[in-house]
């Protein structure tokens, strides 16, 4: 009965991230692959959720206070004037907010521009809505946006541009200049922009997160999506939102209501506490992540991987396999899981479009560092052990057949 599947679902394949994650689970690998924390969520946020459950706040709900707080924050941090009564849609995670936004604005044949490399979920949402994803490559090694190249991808069918910043998988934070390029193009071509700003509070060094909607001409055409998940380390709670001008928010809301009806009620209540965390919370969040980032960068460099671009934000580093290493991203990750018991993600799943086997598409590995000290230390120990001695040849891909039989797995 396979023919009974919709054409759209047959096109979509199981997530490569999830498949390697299953392998990692089977061997008990240290998980530096998936982007969720393994340290506890903040106590004040968890307590708020428990209190809400105990206080019987468990029926269908819309917690307007979330919108009020988000509107204040949008004004304070980005200078955006939004109406909390009409401009927000609370959804089951940024995932659902994005899906609802896509379904709200994309018709059959509409083209949607995405920057490559890109988080894998966007494309399938667009295809489910019968839109056409079009990838604009960012240029390695620093993943820069080239304006001339970008403009060439626009056609009369371009409906929207997707912007994920801070960016998964590269850790790039789009600069003001790059945002201006995007905003000018959107204005000129009269397109929507949909942003994914889930890592908005996780930026490093001098890099500042700028909301695309705050640029001239953008608020009226931008749908902002974000969530609690990464900021408050509660990826399993499914509380996210879309923010857009009232008429567009209304459309998104109408779709959302038919997809899930509402987001989990007690966690909406807990969001009120989370979103009003003190400034200390956010500065600690950043400080802790800087330490983790620097730890993992050192570890990867010691291993011999190239860090051609230091993460400016997000919880990921996109490390490069040196030219001299004769193996692909998938081989490297598979070996890393099997022999060192550490999981990461081969970068090719984030790239789209044709390329030959020599292409840089196969030369990147994504490591997540949203992990507790124990996890990072264990990963370091295992990887250093592999890198010393006979394991090294295995890592670099030369003579690896012999090494696989010779070296004992840790």
């Amino acid at each position: 009965m396979e023919r009974r599947l919709s054409a759209a679902s047959r096109r979509s394949a199981p997530s490569p991230i999830q498949q390697l994650s299953h392998l990692a689970q089977r061997v008990g690998a240290v998980n530096l692959a998936e982007g969720f924390p393994d340290f506890p969520a903040p106590p004040h946020v968890k307590a708020a959720a428990s209190a809400a459950i105990a206080a019987d706040l468990n029926q269908y709900s819309h917690v307007q206070g979330i919108c009020d707080i988000l509107a204040e924050t949008a004004k304070r941090d980005h200078g955006l004037d939004v109406d909390p009564l009409t401009d927000y849609v609370i959804c089951c995670g940024q995932s659902e907010a994005f899906a609802a936004a896509i379904f709200a604005i994309i018709d059959q044949g509409d083209e949607v521009l995405l920057f490559d490399p890109a988080y894998e979920t966007y494309e399938t949402c667009i295809q489910l809505a019968r839109g056409v994803p079009v990838y604009v490559p960012l240029d390695p090694p620093s993943w820069t946006l080239n304006e001339d190249k970008f403009l060439k991808y626009f056609t009369s069918r371009t409906k929207a541009v997707i912007l994920n910043s801070p960016h998964n998988p590269t850790g790039k934070v789009f600069s003001k200049e790059e945002l201006l390029i995007i905003s000018r193009a959107c204005e000129k071509m009269d397109c929507f922009a949909i942003t994914d700003e889930v890592y908005e509070y996780i930026t490093y060094d001098e890099n500042k997160h700028i909301s695309l909607a705050s640029l001239p001409g953008m608020q009226e055409r931008t749908i902002i999506t974000s969530s609690l998940s990464k900021t408050y380390s509660v990826t399993g709670w499914r509380i996210g939102w879309a923010c857009a001008p009232a008429s567009i928010a209304s459309a998104i809301r109408n779709i959302h209501v038919k997809l899930t009806d509402s987001a989990p009620a007690p966690f909406q209540e807990a969001a009120l506490t989370a979103l009003t965390s003190t400034p200390d919370f956010y500065s600690s969040l950043k400080k802790d992540y800087v330490v983790r980032r620097d730890f993992i960068l050192k570890l990867l460099e010691d291993l011999g991987l190239r860090i051609s671009f230091k993460p400016q934000g997000s919880v990921f580093v996109f490390a490069e396999l040196p030219r001299s290493w004769e193996l692909s991203d998938i081989d490297f990750v598979t070996n890393l899981i099997n022999s060192a018991g550490v999981a990461a993600v081969p970068g090719r799943g984030f790239f789209h479009g044709d390329c030959d086997s020599e292409s840089y598409h196969h030369r990147y590995i994504r490591f997540a560092f949203c992990k507790g000290d124990d996890t990072l230390m264990t990963a370091a120990l295992r990887m250093r052990k592999l890198a010393d001695g006979t394991g090294r040849k295995w890592l670099t891909g030369s003579g690896r057949q012999e090494d696989q039989t010779a070296s004992a797995s840790p």
């Binding site: 047959r10 969520a41 269908y60 709900s61 089951c92 899906a99 949402c125 399993g236 109408n254 509402s262």
Partner: protein, 456 residues
Amino acid sequence: MNLAAFPASIGTPAAFPGHEMPLNPSSAFSRSASALLRRSLRASLRSISPMASAAAPTSAPAAAKATEQRPVQVAKRLEKFKTTIFTQMSMLAIKHGAINLGQGFPNFDGPDFVKEAAIQAINAGKNQYARGFGVPELNSAIAERFLKDSGLQVDPDKEVTVTSGCTEAIAATILGLINPGDEVILFAPFYDSYEATLSMAGANVKAITLRAPDFAVPLEELKAAVSKNTKAIMINTPHNPTGKMFTREELEFIATLCKENDVLLFSDEVYDKLAFEADHISMASLPGMYERTVTMNSLGKTFSLTGWKIGWAIAPPHLTWGLRQAHSFLTFATCTPMQAAAAAALRAPDSYYEELRRDYSAKKAILLEGLKSAGFIVHPSSGTYFIMVDHTPFGFDNDIEFCEYLIREVGVVAIPPSVFYLNPEEGKNLVRFTFCKDEDTLRAAVERMKTKLRKK
């Protein structure tokens, strides 16, 4: 008038969960929202013609791209998506201080043991992404419960998918298994997400109307409607809004049509534990049907935790695969701590379900007696916590006018069900009441209706 709020200056009843809104009369928001609505609600309620409305203000003029300043080109699929009747009724209810027997969620809470399980899960750190198709212990608990209820043994990992409520199970099933142009048959009146979601998938919808007083399936009409072009039939049993439960004969008839024409069957069974006058039968348990059936359910109605958004779909592997694809791109994963608690809930002993039925039966008796003596023509309801009645003794032209009057003059809210039909005319004589409220609330509402309703 189309209520999708184009242009935005028409009072959008802001961001309520469209289908059932909580009464929150004391909130600052509801005060300002009332003001917002006063302008528009009367006008919109009078002229509501939701599903049949041909007006499509969502489709912006073709020249917009070249000349307009704003790109308000929302998708054409939104023609079917209006701000729902529940939102409007609830707003009016707040304004008039009416007792709300319209919204289909309880004003009492779920059992302590389930809530405690959720709190424990949060404290134990179960706050990160769950496995996309469900936490293993919940998938197992669902499979165990389904075995008890239907006699069918299913594989928890290959045949059970956990979703954000039954609403998402429906969305994932439709988006995962229906192609643009596929023909799908529904029974009117239907829960409002079915038609809207089918239109998102580009399906061709046919509705067969269940008519009062017994809302029986018109078998010959259904037979004439099914052909080799039919991709799927959707049923909801026990049925919202009529309270009807599909009989074995009806299910067997539908099953035969499905097998003869190679048609899929989507079954929404969220009210299966609220079966009063008959036994609930799962279509999947009929011979030859499991391989072509998706059975959908949720935690919310059975455990009075509608805001937790824990639902599921049970289907053979080839159908599960399709709905999982859609699910993983709609919400990616379902709320983790609530899944742990749901597993505890589903392992509740039979005594929990017996007590649930007893409690609800008592509530039903109060409402039933009240509606009868108030003068409604009451249609029999075998299951769910809804009762459908005929309001024509009171002399109103249609259900919306009656419901407005009921709120304003009597102080009780009910739902005008014409929104649940493809052709609203078919529902204009009917009104849906719910009894998922504590007994004091039900008694107070009944009292108001007995004293204030005037027959014409």
